[in-house]
């Protein structure tokens, strides 16, 4: 086992290990359901598809978050960007619902990017401020105007309907994933993200427009959050204030479990995909086991620390 692990390339390790852990979770869950109900629903395609469907919201959020983390930044404005996109989309309604939602994501991304790239305020704190401004705006919106919060039929279709027996939400997630993978590996923008994340000064002096790259990544993150928000509103048939709260920390955890370096510069999208799947299934199995919140928190924490420890401890600073 040890030998097999050490033979892996370092960047593949997180993917393989988390994939293995996913299987372990499914097996443990199945042992539990067999013992209590005598059934093994966890390996049924229905269950898995349904998990992926609900996981697609987290998956899309995490995809955007990864772009920002690759830069060594973080986007804490996700919760209310997501909620605001959903609320504005449903408030506008009709054909303009989707474009409105996405536009909210773009706008928040632009503001975040501006603050981080041009005002040079640490993203940890600027996006936190933007999140609370968005919350304020939404409280004001809900309280001051007549909010229409019903998801449009298109949103419902995208989030809840199936095509060939597979939920459409999964197709949306797949489409977002393809876009991100192509962006990261096959475009100047993606390569510049890695370069900027590794050393911004060197990237800048290489003639990379690092401010644009930063803005671009935050816009990507905002748009992903917005897409997730619109889908989630479709899935729940409506938008509501707290809808984004459950996505921030799991998204960060998924990205990191997937092997992306939290300080930026390194990481593969496949890892994020696997990380999201792991978190979604872990949550679901814990909820099936009716694990009380206390136990969930402890397990959650132990899994993250444990996985990161298994990946091999981070290397020392270079140049030492």
């Amino acid at each position: 086992m040890q030998i097999a692990l050490s033979r892996l390339r370092p960047e593949d390790k997180p993917v393989v290990i988390s994939a293995g852990f996913i299987v372990v979770i499914l097996i443990l869950g199945t042992v539990y359901t067999l013992a209590t109900q005598g059934t093994a629903p966890l390996f049924s395609p229905n269950y898995l598809l349904q998990q992926l469907q609900t996981g697609s919201f987290l998956g899309i959020v995490a995809a955007g978050m990864m772009m920002v983390i690759l830069l060594g930044h973080i986007d804490l404005s996700i919760p209310w960007t997501l909620a605001a996109a959903a609320m504005m989309a449903t408030a506008v309604g009709g054909d303009m619902a989707l474009p409105t939602g996405i536009a909210v994501g773009v706008a928040v991304g632009l503001v975040n990017g501006f603050g981080v790239a041009y005002l040079r305020i640490p993203s940890m704190i600027f996006t936190l401020g933007v999140d609370s401004v968005m919350r304020g705006l939404m409280v004001w919106h809900t309280g001051g105007f007549a909010p229409q919060d019903q998801a449009t039929p298109l949103m419902r279709t995208l989030a809840a309907d199936k095509f060939l027996g597979i939920p459409l939400a999964i197709f949306v997630w797949a489409a977002v994933s393809v876009v991100i993978v192509v962006l990261l590996s096959r475009t100047a923008f993606g390569r510049s993200i890695y370069a900027t994340g590794n050393r911004e000064a060197a990237a800048y002096l290489s003639g990379i427009r690092t401010p644009w790259i930063i803005v671009g990544a935050f816009v990507a993150s905002g748009v992903c959050a917005a897409i997730a928000g619109v889908l989630l509103a479709g899935y729940s048939t409506k938008a509501y204030q707290g809808m984004g709260n459950a996505y921030l920390l799991p998204a960060i955890a998924a990205v990191v479990i997937g092997g992306t370096r939290i300080l930026g510069g390194q990481g593969r999208y496949v890892g994020t995909l696997v990380g999201v799947t792991l978190i979604v299934l872990l949550n679901s199995v814990l909820s099936i086991m009716q694990m009380p919140e206390a136990g969930r928190q402890v397990i959650y924490g132990c899994v993250i620390v444990g996985m990161l420890l298994v990946y091999g401890r981070g290397s020392r600073n270079f140049g030492g």
Binding site: Y204, L205, S206, G207, R209, G265, F318
Partner: protein
């Protein structure tokens, strides 16, 4: 005289993934001598002294000091044994004050707490000893120039009262005056029976200071001999492993070239004060002067890094300085800059060699918005071949390369963009003779291809040997523009000090 050497290494080997940095090295050094360690880039000099200083653990071999076997697992242990090292990449903490840095690990204490006053006095005394009274002990190291930082680093080492002092290219950025101070200091230390290991790529320094020389090549200790027993030529042959002829490529006949890059009255923040200069196509213009006279700022201004630059810049008919490096590198200006500090400004160290090479030229390997992997591979291979960069695989992290090869990566990255104006900020700092020659040749070749080259160097010999013209900066302005046979050491030094009257005194 004891019968065993003061410092003795036996059978030391150190391997990094893929490279043998040190291979079965036996080495010794005596007290009261200054011992030069020579070798081209990547020969293993830094690795050697890092093993001595407890930063790296050797894979095999043993070490003894004063006949006692020692094994240092961290720098603090080496310090405790009197082994003090000034590392190639400085070990100062930028956000602490100069005094804090000088007394970093062993500050004077009272009641278990650091005694600031005693620390301040101690720092002041040591700075005075190395004639750096101008450095404020309460100032932050961050605010100091590179040469001042090197002096503080030397002060810090002195403060530890070393028995063995190691300087790994510790004089590479010093001004002439400081170099003299350091020479005197080292001579004093020799008097005090301190052992000194001195690493430098500047032969004249070695010549002047050292008693004993050791040459390393490819991780092996080639030979140790006393000064004067070998000619320079022999030494270089030992280092490179082959005969090296004329140091600089021949200069083409003088001819007038239409200016391609023209700067007039460039001013910025009191650091540039009306600099005026022009560089023609196919011309190498050297930029000289004492360190910190605005040479770096001039290059950054031309490359679009500085805000609020006044004056006119004209590149190939394109009026105005670029507003960002991105604008600078694009047509029609096509400017590139090889920056001063390759580790923080030139390279993304953990990224692969290929990614670093491509960082400035994504658009050249793209089809539409997408990067074409085939073109990408071709471009990288071509760049590596062109500069003969010594690498394992293009996918290895650039951090694993030696200093010289890292510098080549930076240059290669820019050559991929096919620049017309090349700004070189001290590109040969810390680079071995062989690589230096390659770089000189490359510069000449690029000039022949019709590019305009502006070349800043702290080494007068380079300016004299390589450049068609030399412009000397003093206090933010160009004070002399030397051409052809006017480029002499006297002229350069005189102009650098900008004092005609006391010129003789300064040179002597």
């Amino acid at each position: 005289m004891p019968d065993h050497p003061f410092l003795q290494l036996t059978g030391i080997s150190k391997h990094f993934s893929g490279t043998r940095a040190l291979e079965n090295v036996d080495f010794s050094c005596e007290r009261g001598t200054i011992h030069a360690v020579l070798g081209e880039n990547g020969a293993g000099k830094s690795t050697l002294i890092k093993t001595i200083a407890g930063v790296l653990k050797p894979d095999t071999g043993s070490m003894s000091i004063d006949g006692q076997a020692v094994e240092f697992s961290r720098p603090s242990e080496a310090n405790a044994a009197g082994v003090v090292c000034i590392f190639q990449e400085l070990s100062l903490v930028p956000d602490l004050t100069v005094a804090d840095n000088i007394c970093l690990a062993m500050p004077p204490r009272r009641f278990g707490m650091i005694d600031r006053r005693a620390q301040h006095n101690f720092a002041e005394a040591i700075l005075a000893r190395i004639k750096c009274e101008d450095v404020d002990p309460n100032g932050l190291v961050r605010d100091l120039s590179l040469s001042r930082r090197q002096m503080v680093e030397i002060a810090k080492a002195l403060g530890k009262s070393p028995r063995l002092l190691i300087l790994d290219e510790a004089t590479s950025a010093l001004t002439r005056k400081d170099v003299e101070t350091v020479y005197d200091l080292l001579a004093d230390l020799r008097q005090d029976n301190v052992a000194c290991l001195f690493i430098s790529h500047r032969m004249n320094e070695v010549e002047r200071l050292c008693d004993t020389l050791s040459v390393f090549r490819n991780g092996r200790h080639v030979e140790t001999f006393a000064k004067g027993t070998r000619t320079d030529r022999d030494i270089v042959r030992l280092m490179i492993g082959r005969e090296v002829d004329a140091q600089f490529p021949p200069r083409p006949a003088e001819r007038t070239r239409p200016p391609h890059l023209t700067i007039q009255n460039l001013s910025w923040q009191g650091r540039l004060k009306g600099a005026t200069l022009s560089v023609g196509k196919g011309e190498i213009v050297g930029l000289g002067g004492l360190d910190g006279q605005g040479q770096k700022e001039l290059m950054l201004a031309l490359f679009g890094v500085l805000r609020g630059v006044e004056g006119t810049v004209d590149v190939g008919g394109q009026i105005g300085a670029p507003r960002s490096p991105a604008a600078a590198k694009r047509a029609p200006r096509r400017i590139c800059l090889v920056p001063e500090d390759r580790k923080t400004e030139g390279l993304m160290l953990p990224m692969s060699i290929a990614d670093n090479l491509l960082a400035a030229s994504y658009s050249r390997v793209s089809v539409g918005p997408f990067i074409d992997p085939a073109q990408e591979r071709k471009a990288v291979d071509a760049a590596i071949a062109k500069l003969q960069i010594k690498i394992g695989s293009p996918q290895d992290a650039v951090a694993t390369l030696s200093g010289g090869n890292q510098q080549k990566v930076v240059i290669a990255k820019w050559l991929m963009t096919d620049p017309e104006v090349i700004l070189l900020n001290d590109p040969t700092r810390g680079i071995d003779v062989g690589t230096k020659q390659e770089i000189y040749r490359l510069m000449r070749q690029l000039a022949e291809e019709g590019r305009a080259i502006l070349f800043y160097s702290t080494d007068y010999a380079e300016l004299i040997g390589c450049c068609d013209r030399v412009a000397i900066m003093y206090d933010g302005a160009i004070v002399a523009d030397l051409a052809g046979s006017a480029i002499t050491e006297e002229a350069i030094v005189g102009a650098s000090l900008n004092i005609g009257a006391s010129l003789k005194e300064a040179v002597s």
